[in-house]
């Protein structure tokens, strides 16, 4: 089937404005009759729930943590982009649009990206009004910095905790709506199924993580804003609870999963120290503004960094990409680091690391300036590694970080299942095959504050509110299914723990579907994952019962989903017989090792329809056309 993204036709500059006018509205007096279920309270879900509540809809919001404020958006460090052009350095909506399309290696929809760039400016205004303490210059104006892959300074930031501050802004807005009675919050609640009635999304089945109760919430529309799936690699920069579960359970109810193979490996993370490792910590990429990446020129060099003279260091990013240097986009910087290590020139334990060196900047700007810019990051680094990065260079290594893929949605952020909307990292929409730094926060808030409040009305205006009741047979069936599934997990009583399976899956994924993928490695993964999955369902040990707070059970469900989803990810990567952005197939590279796209055959969104576990998924395509940007080889030389 050919999918239609339903983008407005005509000049892109006015596309969103025209579309807003063309969409239907819900009469103010009727809004409260519609119930909207928002799953996820990160930037995307938090902003959406608050805005929809304020508009007068009856909103229920869900998250698995004990507070809406703890969504993983909280961990974003570096900043948020907007096309304000405050520094007068040549930025514009068009430039942000262009950079995002190009950065995504021409695998995103033009209209969606244009809208994102257009509303980016509103986001900053909104956050300022909420009291987000963005960095200011001495005159009191908003400060900007340049961030990964951009040649203009368009990134707004709040120390090294931009995500935290933006999320607390959204959380404040949400709290206000809770007080106003328009939003009801359900924390420590995990969505485990989507209820579809006559082909439309009408509810979710959840598990109360404290009591273990499984129940259905019905509504007139469902919004998923449940974040990313890179924990499929086990070790990643995501939080421990991040999962593909909400998305995957929706897939099993008919939603298509788009471009799962587009995953982003972040170049600057703290290297792994041992088998005990439970997650990897990101060091914000803003560090690359003042830090220089290098590796020893000599193979197997075990000297301390300070003993390696300047001429024996390879500042490989500056050498390979003279104009972007240390600010080369993430996929490029990650692969370059991996190349150094594969070439036996890595540093630190196991040789899986390269240096990020601040010595020159400290010499030029002074330690105080560096401290004021990155103090909290240096502190975090020291806590984890016991090393002082003001004195010795940081060691960094790439780690799975972000998922560009996600549920397929059209221009309205609506999936192929009517009434199911998907926002933020959970959808696939704007980043193509690679996301630029500081653009995910922008997308989350754009979707939540400025897109969904308009587009959901267009759907709701067409339906009758409250048509499905909690005693609908589909609700009962959903509860039975979820209960049965959990009971099955609890009854296996095997010998291996859930984490052991997750770790093994992560190894398969990282080794075969990680930074460099080949036909052979992908086939290997596709062979191994089902075997591991089968073992899981016969040998996993989940202690306790379903009728209580049971973290093992929660985790077992998430890992079970990863064990199915990982296979789809590998299949998507195998089918996409080209390299683009974060998807790097070793068979397809330029002579200098750059990703080689195949626009003739792969200039489309690949959206997969689930046909059953152990059955082949079906591919649906949405062709991508570029009318405003010239398809070009992405070059950062």
């Amino acid at each position: 089937m050919i999918l239609d993204g339903k983008c407005p036709k005509g000049p892109i500059q006015t596309s969103w404005d025209r579309h807003r006018f063309d969409m239907k509205l819900v009469n103010p007096a009727n809004k409260r009759k519609y119930k909207i279920l928002v799953v996820g309270t990160g930037l995307a879900g938090g902003a959406a729930a608050a805005s929809l509540g304020e508009l007068g809809y009856n909103v229920e919001a869900f998250c698995y943590q004990d507070s809406a404020r703890r969504a993983h958006s909280i961990a974003a460090q570096g900043g948020i982009n907007a096309a304000k052009n405050y520094p007068n350095d040549g930025d514009s909506i068009y430039r942000l649009f262009y950079d995002t399309i190009k950065g995504g290696d021409f695998r995103a929809r033009e209209a969606d990206v244009w809208r994102l760039a257009q509303v980016s400016n509103n986001i900053i205004d909104q956050c300022v009004a909420q009291g987000v303490p963005f960095a200011r210059d001495y005159a009191g104006y908003l400060d900007n910095r340049s961030f990964g892959g951009a040649q203009v300074s368009r990134t707004f930031f709040a120390r090294g905790q931009t995500g935290q501050q933006l999320l607390l802004g959204a959380y404040s807005a949400l709290s206000r709506q809770v007080k106003a009675g328009s939003v009801k919050l359900f924390a420590r609640t995990e969505m485990l199924d989507l209820v579809v009635v006559d082909g439309e999304a009408k509810g979710i089945t959840i598990r109360d993580l404290v009591t273990g109760e499984i129940r259905t919430h019905v509504g007139d529309a469902v919004v998923l804003a449940t974040g990313g799936y890179v924990n499929v690699f086990y070790l990643s920069t995501n939080a421990m609870g991040c999962s593909v579960t909400a998305n995957w359970r929706a897939v099993k109810k008919g939603a298509y999963f788009a471009n799962p193979c587009y995953t982003q490996i972040h170049p600057t993370c703290i290297p792994q120290t041992g088998e005990h490792q439970s997650k990897l910590t990101l060091m914000s990429e803003s560090l690359r503004n003042d830090g220089r990446c290098w590796a020893p020129k000599k193979k197997g060099d075990t000297r301390a960094p300070g003993e390696i003279p300047e001429e024996e260091r390879d500042y490989y990013l500056e050498r390979k990409y003279p104009s972007f240097g240390n600010l080369a986009p993430r996929d490029i910087a990650s692969r370059a680091a991996k190349e150094q290590c594969d070439d036996s020139r890595g540093v630190g334990p196991g040789g899986r690391g390269v240096y990020l060196d601040f010595a020159d900047s400290i010499k030029r700007l002074g330690e105080d300036t560096i401290r004021s810019r990155y103090g909290n990051l240096f502190e975090m680094y020291e806590k984890i590694t016991d090393e002082n990065a003001y004195k010795v260079p940081m060691r960094i290594y790439p780690a799975p970080h972000y998922s560009m893929g996600g549920l397929w949605v059209d221009y309205n952020c609506e999936s192929n299942v009517p009434g199911l909307f998907v926002l933020g990292e959970a959808n696939f929409s704007v980043h193509g095959a690679n996301r630029l730094g500081a653009s995910a926060l922008m997308q989350g808030l754009a979707d939540g504050y400025f897109v969904i409040p308009y587009t959901i009305a267009n759907y709701l205006a067409k339906i009758k509110p409250g048509s499905v009741k909690a005693d609908h047979p589909e609700c009962k069936k959903s509860i039975e299914d979820v209960t049965g599934y959990n009971n099955k997990l609890l009854s296996i009583n095997g010998k291996k723990t859930v984490s052991e399976f997750h770790r093994e899956l992560g190894k398969i994924m990282w080794e075969n579907v990680g930074m460099a993928r080949s036909e052979q490695s992908l086939k290997e993964a596709i062979k191994k994952i089902p075997v591991l999955r089968e073992e899981f369902w016969s040998n996993v040990k989940v202690t306790g019962s379903g009728a209580e707070l049971n973290q093992q059970l929660e985790n077992a469900g998430r890992v079970a989903d990863f064990l199915e989803f990982g296979e789809l990810l590998a299949k998507d990567a195998l089918h996409r017989n080209e390299s683009c952005g974060g998807h790097f197939r070793v068979e397809h590279q330029m002579p200098d090792g750059e990703a080689k796209r195949d626009d003739e055959n792969y200039c489309y969104v690949g959206a997969w329809e689930f046909k059953g576990v152990d059955k082949e998924p079906e591919l649906h395509k949405e062709p991508l056309t570029f009318e405003n940007v010239h398809l070009a080889v992405r070059s950062y030389k």
């Binding site: 509103n122 009291g131 501050q165 206000r176 439970s278 806590k383 409040p453 052991e500 093992q552």
Partner: protein
């Protein structure tokens, strides 16, 4: 290194709890405290026992989920460090470690080391915001914020809402938590319009939720993993006074 752990086990809010002893073997100094507990749990599961439940999520010190009292001190007593960022290199071979949940009247225990912190939410819902609408706000640069004010606001806004301040306070007070939000918004032009109402509503909500009063012990500041200062409590008091005379 090898360690002896005494961990608070309690099966539900109403069940009686007690400290149970466990051995943590071959702990690496590079492991985080929670990774050490992960391994203890793996062993428990393999032996068919119930693993210890504890709150955690981001494991990088920012989400505010993790919440353990270690040897009597919330987050373990290392300066500006959450439990998840505490590393085993700060312990020695043979150490005995006591691990308990947050203890405060307003934080009922749900299970083992997990407490219910929803009372903190009520304080935020009472006024921890500016009442701006989505859309229809002024240009970001139309509101000038002097840099020192922005920095002051950010110092306060560092709060991760973990509740260590409450757990550390002999009165179980949430004053540091409340004051951080009050001070952040009181110093910014955007928060002025509602400043008086906000400080009254938020302090009332704290009291209603069962948090104690502040009697200047400063234990909160010492326990705060983000270094939020008690100067914000002074600011809250001043804002409160101002509001009374309005």
């Amino acid at each position: 290194m090898n360690l002896t752990l005494h961990v608070w086990r309690q099966n539900g809010a109403k069940a009686p709890g007690k400290l149970e002893q466990y051995e943590a073997k071959n702990v690496s100094p590079d492991q985080s405290f929670l990774e050490m507990l992960d391994e203890v749990n793996e062993q428990l599961i393999k032996n068919g026992k119930e693993p210890i439940v504890f709150d955690h999520d981001c494991r990088e010190g920012i989400c505010g989920m993790c919440s353990q009292v270690i040897n009597g001190v919330p987050h373990g007593g290392q300066e500006r460090t959450t439990v998840c960022q505490l590393h085993m290199r700060s312990f020695s071979d043979g150490d005995t470690i006591y691990i308990e949940p947050w203890r405060a009247l307003a934080f009922p225990i749900l299970k083992d080391l997990i407490v219910d912190r929803s009372n903190l939410e009520k304080i935020m819902q009472a006024g921890g915001y500016t009442s701006c609408h989505t859309g229809g706000v002024a240009d970001g640069n139309a509101i000038l914020v002097p840099q020192p004010a922005a920095e002051y606001a950010m110092d306060a806004a560092e709060c991760i809402g973990c509740g260590a301040c409450v757990a550390a306070c002999p009165n179980g007070s949430a004053m540091l938590y409340t004051s951080a939000k009050v001070a952040q918004l009181a110093v910014l032009p955007q928060g002025q319009a509602e400043a008086a109402q906000r400080v009254c509503d938020m302090t009332d909500a704290a009291q209603a939720a069962g948090f104690g009063n502040c009697s200047n012990h400063y234990e909160c500041q010492a326990a705060c993993p983000k270094g939020v200062s008690v100067k914000f409590i002074a600011k809250l008091n001043r804002e409160y006074q101002k509001a009374l005379f309005k």
